[in-house]
């Protein structure tokens, strides 16, 4: 494993700003980035990667390899929650419903981790394909279905629906949430307008991207640090270690898929990162609707407080290394 590459990933401005935010929150600084501003930046980041992915997709045909990668993404998102659930039930004291809810997060993905990975891949001298943005979008939701089935097997299925709930509200939350709408929409727009449309908007959507990511990750660091400070008491040692070994397990599985499909290193690194990353926006929201009895502080602390920081710092170099291994 190339240590200098690992170091240069960890010492990139993006990661350092995350660490700054994390440190400030852990030191109980009151500083914050306004929610509205951070949410605006998040939408910017998703538009940007959607557009870039769409433009790239407009260049190249959909090969059978591409189809296989989508298949692999789907399978991973559907099945990783089963593994995660089993691990959590074995290694921690979480009850069925908390474990199911947490498991859903690990089958789904983190857009920001993905974005950071595309940058790390690029600065490692590798190339990646635009369609992986679409794979990311596809991997967001299947895990939720698996988790609901897991929770229901414990008897939650026989219960009456929550008071005031409405058919379709969960579907709307899951398929029409901001990240799906913006990612898929921007992908389509990039694909329709192609290179010509992109050149006009590149000074906004391409050039400042890395810098915006720094600012956004400062906020993520603050958020992760505060989540940790608030929620760490909810997690036993088993849960904490799960937050670190689970992404490695997922990465290993995804690497096998990448090997089987014969993906190039950059693409493999992104698929591995998607598998290893855990959701902390879309899935928590869905879980509040579908499994309101699961404790949000448990799954959020795990996903945002443990796994996200791990992935961003130590995870990414490992995943790139793994990708290079399996794509030789």
């Amino acid at each position: 494993m190339d240590l200098s590459l690992a170091l240069s990933t960890i010492l990139s401005p993006v990661v350092l700003f995350f660490v700054l935010g994390l440190g400030a929150a852990l030191a109980r600084s009151e500083m914050s980035i306004p929610e509205a501003f951070a949410k605006g930046l998040a939408i910017y980041l998703m538009m940007s990667i959607g557009l870039k992915g769409g433009v790239e997709m407009s260049h190249s045909a959909i090969t059978s390899q591409v189809a296989m990668v989508f298949g692999a993404g789907l399978i991973l998102s559907f099945t990783l929650p089963l593994l995660a659930f089993a691990f959590l039930r074995l290694s921690s004291k979480m009850d069925r419903i908390d474990a199911a809810a947490a498991a859903a997060h690990y089958g789904s993905i983190s857009v920001v981790t993905f974005v950071a990975a595309t940058q790390a891949v690029k600065y490692s001298g590798l190339e990646s394909s635009g369609y992986l943005v679409a794979v990311a979008a596809v991997m967001e939701t299947p895990a939720i279905i698996t988790a609901l089935l897991l929770a229901q097997r414990g008897g939650a299925g026989t219960k009456a629906p929550v008071a005031g709930s409405e058919r379709g509200e969960l579907m709307r939350e899951v398929f029409l949430n901001a990240s799906v709408v913006v990612l898929v929409g921007s992908l389509a727009i990039g694909w329709i307008t192609g290179e010509a449309g992109m050149t006009r908007i590149a000074p906004f959507f391409v050039d400042p991207f890395q810098g915006v990511l720094c600012l956004f990750l400062l906020d993520m660091g603050l958020s992760a640090g505060r989540g940790l400070r608030r929620g760490w008491r909810q997690l036993d040692a088993g849960a904490v270690s799960f937050g670190i070994y689970m992404p490695l397990v997922s990465a290993g599985l995804a690497a096998l898929f990448a090997l089987g499909i014969g993906m190039p290193a950059g693409d493999a690194a992104l698929l591995i990162t998607l598998a290893a990353s855990a959701s902390y926006i879309a899935v928590p929201a869905a879980m509040r609707l579908a499994l309101p009895k699961a404790q949000p502080s448990v799954y959020l602390t795990l996903s945002l407080g443990i796994t996200f920081p791990f992935n961003l710092t130590f995870g990414l170099p490992i995943y790139i290394y793994l990708a290079e291994l399996v794509s030789r």
């Binding site: 005031g164 608030r230 926006i281 929201a285 879980m287 509040r288 309101p292 959020l300």
Partner: protein
Amino acid sequence: MHQKRRLELIIERMALERAGRILEAAGLTGYTVISAMSGYGGGVRWSRGSDISATQDMVVVISIGSTERVDAALTQLHDLLDDHIGVLNVATVDVMRPELF
């Protein structure tokens, strides 16, 4: 002035639509929602700006209505608070135009 009831429901944002449907079904003519900035409960402090998932945000729902309508909503809201995070209180208030509520 005429006496009505003022229902104040502090509930997690993700359950807001469900609460709204309950209030509407009970025949309440209106409600107003305010987003909370921070809070404390169960020994833990939270605050909106610092949670990127926003899943832990709380809102305050205020609805003025007749005793019957507020009572009609209460059972269902009680059930909702079985599943979702929140607390509820009701007070007696005076209004000028009773026909509105």
